[in-house]
Symmetry: C2
Subunit: 488 residues, 2 copies
């Protein structure tokens, strides 16, 4: 993503539409688009917003080179007039966004873009690509770390990631979600995040025997001596050889900061319990047992339940690809358009599927916390010009089953607006925190979720309601469109 | 991937091992690594090799900047001596590979790397990342295109891809696998592949009504007028309005090269049949019906079976992420190491899981074709110094169930060696074809597969056998290691 200019990272139809808007003389009509998603990945009870920093970089770097323009010209689709417009293209609008690391729920705009339709339309694809990817992996990482119950989780997936960026920005997102380190050196350098790793099977195989390989590794890295014990036979060869090397270090009075073993195959519950016994009996209760091998939140939770003696988890493929749910379904929908009277007029998209009907208008998101516990009680999607007051009672209702209502007394709740300004009139007004700062913020965010909402399967769903004003607007607009057609 | 130098795109443990090899005085030991995979993605009967061009670019561009070295120094893991070695790091070895677009099967080395262990170890992670990703998507695309039975399949997944590279190189791989175009403009420019697209729902929503939106689109793109008809109501509003616009074009004597509609929601079988009738009755039998909406090979095959009148398929999320199987399990395993006598000595990795025991030695792959049909009969993994002769009988046997044997008479089969030289002594000797040339080659490759092997579920599995010599070597090495331990 860095280095390569991503201006052309867009679907062709964004550009045919841009030319169309120009020809229809509406290219400068101001519009509002919402970037939101409809369902949490992996049936989770929440998601973690991520990718905003890269979205900002993308917007800042928008610029068509002459080479880009020549390429577009070669497609024989575009007028010279349109291509000329692109030559000085820059983003001049406003973007509000939910900060990275925030706990988010379906239907809430993670980004709200207000700009001339010519610009707002163009940036759709890249914004979705960036936000969808990183939010997906950050969410998966939060789930995996939750299953690990405070143990260290390392991101080990680079070799199975969907290309270099997926490895690099996936590692970034995994850190935001709660991982404590990554194997990915380039990500380590780019984002100043901890990098971790010891050795592979090939290390062991490249020496005449396992014991020699372990001895050589201990000699090279006496301070951090985690030995991979499953190349030939974990309990008969690997663990005894590791213990032998730890004893030799002790005899030589070498005291590594960390000693331990890594299991990468076989039954991790059984092997870790047996290895724990062997290490303890040999006088190495401080030796760490780490494990990798097709781990995910479900397997880690299961291994924990079975008393596995593992305290450090290397998670690869299933985290970096979010294997059970490899796409985050973010969409980008028109919510309003400035009409001839200069008013931002709400827009709606209908669908056979009621879940796909959009929320019209310029909106904000109010998070409602339970004051006593600090936990999230509900979110409220409201029109941007509405005001809410902690000192007044707050009435919420479910937008589908409207009889489901909640009345909050003043003093029992606090309010927080989630969308913050990122670009104003095309100027970036937001300074992204470092990845480790975002990670820390995300840890706090996760603490505002009830445990029931973090359950891996069938979690408690925190209500996301509409304000009365937004609900009425939406209902009216649906009636207006549907009222004109009668089913035959 | 382009632009950003990928030299640090590696797992940290490759580098700790490198320093370890150096300290153990074995860094220049020549080794052979195989990059292969164990099971076809999506339970397919085959896979398509892809990503070689980017793997070559990566190897060619290997170079540590002073900034990289400073970063590594800051980790307090590496000696100054080791960091100095990296300053002039370049790849000096040999790489043989199976060309992109080739049909491949599990256990076959897609790449074979022979180099000093210091270099061969380093490049593991990035090679796996690149080859795993593109082979995954090329394979998925081949399956999707097969289900579409010759219809055009467009890759529309950029917004849901796992980051920019996944979109860009995923589009490249999708073209190799058989797609006819992509929506991704940057991929179009980079690889000279066709880009496609028309308009989105937001186009329709941004105009006062659907008919106006369609008219404006037809005015802007009279030559390629595909209208998205499901923004409000497909059959009551979208299709009638599209027909109205097609009629108006006809009345004005404007003859677009392509007219048609796109369906993006609802029941695609029903809607396409109804729309077909409406278009035909209105006198537009030439109007194309294209469709998108969570398509994959299974849904396309089902829609075909139900007589859906769709002839152009836009496939997004499920192709670009290979949703049902988002990782290609390529691994990189040590196969041989030059010993003190100067002989490349075979190496093996055992595992509790028999499927994970590696094939030792320097190997090649012989593809055996049925001479009459040109179809693949079997593949043979053999030692590199073995010779096979089309004029002599060929005996094959299954390496697990050795009683399963096949004897081929001379004249009934032809042989082809799959691995070709790519780097020799660090110099690239391979010229990659263009993506569209690879695509064409892949189409021919797919024609060498029996239909039974292309079945989407439970396909016929083409045998991949070991030569007698390799089989005997492997068996002997397993016995040598296991023979020394007695189960208690």
């Amino acid at each position: 993503m860095n280095g390569l200019n991503l201006t052309l990272l867009t679907d062709l139809y964004e550009m045919t539409m841009m030319q169309g808007y120009k020809q229809a003389h509406v290219k400068n009509h101001e519009v509002v688009f919402d970037l939101f998603y409809r369902t949490n990945p992996s049936n989770s009870g929440y998601a973690i917003a991520a990718g905003l920093q890269q979205a900002i970089d993308y917007i800042k770097n928008l610029s068509f080179s002459e080479e880009d323009l020549n390429y577009l010209r070669s497609l024989n689709l575009f007028t010279e007039d349109f291509i000329n417009d692109l030559r000085n293209f820059k983003f001049t609008g406003d973007i509000y966004a939910i900060p990275e690391g925030t706990v988010v729920f379906p239907k809430e705009p993670l980004l709200r873009v207000k700009a001339p339709i010519f610009e707002a339309q163009f940036i759709e694809t890249a914004l979705l690509n960036i936000i969808n990817h990183q939010s997906l992996i950050a969410t998966k990482a939060a789930r995996v770390c939750w299953a690990a119950e405070g143990d260290s989780v390392l991101e080990f997936g680079l070799r199975r990631a969907q290309g270099p960026d997926a490895g690099i920005y996936g590692a970034r997102a995994a850190m935001i979600g709660g991982c404590t380190g990554t194997s990915n050196v380039l990500a380590g350098k780019m984002f100043d995040i901890p990098v971790k790793g010891t050795h592979a099977h090939s290390w062991v195989m490249s020496f005449p025997d396992e014991l020699t390989a372990f001895r050589e590794y201990a000699k090279a890295f006496p301070d951090n001596c985690i030995l991979l014990v499953d190349t030939y036979d974990t309990l008969k060869s690997g663990v005894p050889n590791a213990i032998q090397v730890f004893k030799e270090l002790r005899e030589k009075n070498i005291k590594p900061k960390i000693i331990g073993i890594r299991l990468d195959s076989g039954d991790l519950a059984y092997l870790s319990k047996e290895a724990r016994k062997m290490l303890d009996q040999a006088g190495f209760p401080e030796a760490i047992i780490s494990a990798s091998s097709d781990l995910d939140e479900y397997l880690i939770a299961d291994l924990k339940r079975q008393g596995a003696k593992i305290t450090m988890w290397g998670v690869g493929t299933r985290l970096i690809t979010s294997k059970d749910c490899p796409a985050f379904g973010g969409v980008y929908k028109l919510a309003a358009e400035r009409n001839e009277e200069g008013v931002l007029e709400p827009k709606i998209k209908l669908s056979e599927n009621p879940d796909k009907v959009t929320n019209p208008g310029v909106k904000k998101i109010i998070r409602i916390y339970d004051k006593a516990s600090g936990k999230i009680k509900a979110d409220l999607i409201a029109l941007d010009d509405e005001t809410f007051d902690e000192s007044k009672p707050l009435k919420l209702f479910d937008p589908v089953n409207t009889w489901k209502q909640m009345k909050l007394k003043p003093g029992t709740f606090t309010l927080r607006e989630l969308l913050v300004p990122v670009f104003i009139n095309g100027e970036c007004v937001y300074q992204s925190p470092s990845v480790m700062e975002i990670r820390e913020y995300c840890q706090h965010e996760l603490s505002t979720l009830w445990d029931e909402a973090k359950r891996l399967t069938n979690p408690y769903i925190i209500p996301v309601d509409l304000s009365k004003k937004l609900y009425d607007l939406k209902k009216q607009m649906i009636d207006d469109i549907r009222g004109t057609s009668i089913d035959e």
